[in-house]
């Protein structure tokens, strides 16, 4: 059965971490609620904002080649949440700048730790890992079938063709939908994000 997909981002649950390595603080629901309140008074919007900021942090750590970016994103979020819970006042308008500052600090700490421990850099083999396996393709089929036909057509059309044929194809889709190229790219990005989540759930479900 295909996982159910929803368009709206749910409010994130409290991350399941008793104690985050790299902090001396314990994340609890109070700290997490403080963080959400900082991001937006509306809880749903705060949840969306939280996810969006996680994306920015992930981008940040990935580009600094940290092997475990997701973990470092947790460290940053936990650290800011605990500071808020412990009474630090951060004006909402400065919240993102503050987050960025903490992220740079965590990155620096991680860099020093890696140098101290002489951590081996990541190695990877590109070609094999790029090929989706049968299971993933099956799951993708299921997830594509769970989309409404128009959305499915848009995303599949977007990936059709190469070079100028691909560009022409995308121009055609954008014209048919009455949107710009950039808007089409954004729309496809959103669909793909949903698909990625769906495929991940599907693959894990079947394991």
């Amino acid at each position: 059965m295909a996982p159910v997909m929803s368009d709206s981002e749910p409010v994130p649950p409290l991350p399941n971490r008793e104690k985050t390595p790299g902090t001396s603080r314990t994340l609890d629901s109070a700290a997490f609620e403080s963080l959400l309140r900082l991001l937006d008074p509306d809880r749903d919007k705060a949840g969306q904002r939280y996810e969006y900021l996680r994306r920015k942090l992930t981008m940040f750590f990935e580009n600094r080649l940290h092997p475990d970016s997701e973990h470092l994103v947790d460290v940053v979020m936990d650290r800011v949440a605990c500071k808020l819970r412990d009474g630090m006042s951060i004006p909402p308008v400065d919240s993102v700048r503050f987050l960025y500052g903490v992220a740079r600090m965590v990155a620096l700490e991680e860099h020093r730790r890696a140098a101290r421990e002489q951590t081996t850099p990541l190695t990877w083999e590109v070609p094999d890992r790029l090929q989706p396996d049968e299971r993933e393709l099956e799951c993708l089929d299921r997830c594509l079938n769970a989309l409404d036909p128009a959305t499915r057509g848009t995303v599949l059309g977007y990936y059709l063709g190469q070079g100028s044929a691909k560009l022409n194809n995308r121009t055609g889709i954008a014209a048919r939908l009455g949107i710009t190229h950039a808007a089409l790219a954004n729309r496809t990005w959103r669909i793909r994000t949903r698909l990625a989540r769906c495929v991940r759930q599907c693959v894990e479900q079947d394991r």
Binding site: Y52, R55, K56, T58, M59, F60, E62, N63, L65, P67, S69, E70, V96, R97, L99, Y100, L122, W124, V126, R129, L130, Q131, P132, E136, L137, L140, D141, L144, V155, L156, G157, Y158, Y159, L160, Q162, G163, K166, A182, A185, N186, T188, W189, R192, L195, A196, V199, R200
Partner: protein
């Protein structure tokens, strides 16, 4: 990878790990503080993945992509998803093409067209059959005329048959050929040449059922698209035979004529 603005180029270099520390901080601050910059960066990230999967990156971009960009498990997952979507899109396209083909065949317009074509074919087939039949009648008549003409000083009785490639017909139009047990009988087999036959000479052989050559000869002349092999009737027993028509050396088989002989 082509980009419209300097900012795009800077972001691409950021994604590929080519920036100085100062420029990197500039890009980071930009996308942290400005959601539009983040959206642009994500868009470029997707485009980079897309072009990598489609093998559209320059060699330099590709090398940096593999050495820097793909270090992230998340990006690797995105690249795999892009690859999978590309495959799915291709499959979907082929499936739609097949479906459209069948839909086209089942369309009422196409059905009418198919019916009309079938009718035309039927009429043509009927016309060809009529033509063939009259041609056959003409040949038979010519043969009968030939038979009616007095043989120049026939020294011996003759039985004649007209054979077509792949099949045999006697003058009586039966499937099996009957030859009388007359002493001294000469049996003439007139073999119709196949359409693409080169000019004579030809080598004709008569073979028994088990492949032994009973008779063979070189025929240097053809008449009205036929060649004639004259064989002593005493050589022919009841049974199945095969005439083989070949070119004179270098040998190339042109046609064969199976036949069954009866000696009532």
């Amino acid at each position: 990878m082509g980009f419209g603005t300097e900012q795009d180029r800077l972001m691409l270099d950021y994604l590929l790990g080519r920036l100085t520390v100062e420029d990197r901080l500039r890009v980071e601050e930009a996308y942290f503080l400005d959601d539009a910059s983040m959206a642009r960066l994500e868009f470029l990230e997707d485009r980079l993945i897309d072009e990598y999967v489609n093998r559209e990156l320059s060699p330099r971009d590709r090398a940096d992509y593999e050495s820097h960009f793909l270090a992230s498990p998340r990006r690797l997952e995105k690249a795999r998803l892009s690859q999978a979507l590309r495959l799915a899109a291709l499959r979907d396209k082929h499936r739609s093409a097949r479906t459209s083909f069948w839909e086209f065949l089942l369309r009422p317009g196409f059905r009418t067209l198919a019916l009309a074509s079938a009718s035309i074919l039927l009429v043509c087939g009927w016309w060809i059959a009529i033509q063939s039949r009259s041609e056959l009648a003409r040949v038979r008549e010519a043969l009968a005329r030939q038979q009616r003409q007095p043989e120049p000083a026939p020294a011996r009785p003759v039985a004649a048959f007209l054979l077509y490639p792949g099949l045999s017909r006697g003058t009586a139009a039966t499937g099996r050929l009957s030859i009388p047990r007359t002493t001294g009988l000469q049996v003439r087999f007139q073999l119709e040449l196949p359409e693409a036959a080169p000019p004579p000479p030809y080598v004709v052989s008569l073979r028994t059922e088990d492949g032994n050559v009973l008779w063979s000869g070189q025929l240097d002349q053809s008449t009205a698209g036929t060649v004639t092999a004259a064989i002593d009737g005493a050589l022919l027993a009841e049974g199945d035979y095969l005439f083989v028509l070949e070119t004179a050396p270098p040998v190339r088989r042109l046609a064969s004529y199976p036949l069954s002989l009866l000696k009532p």
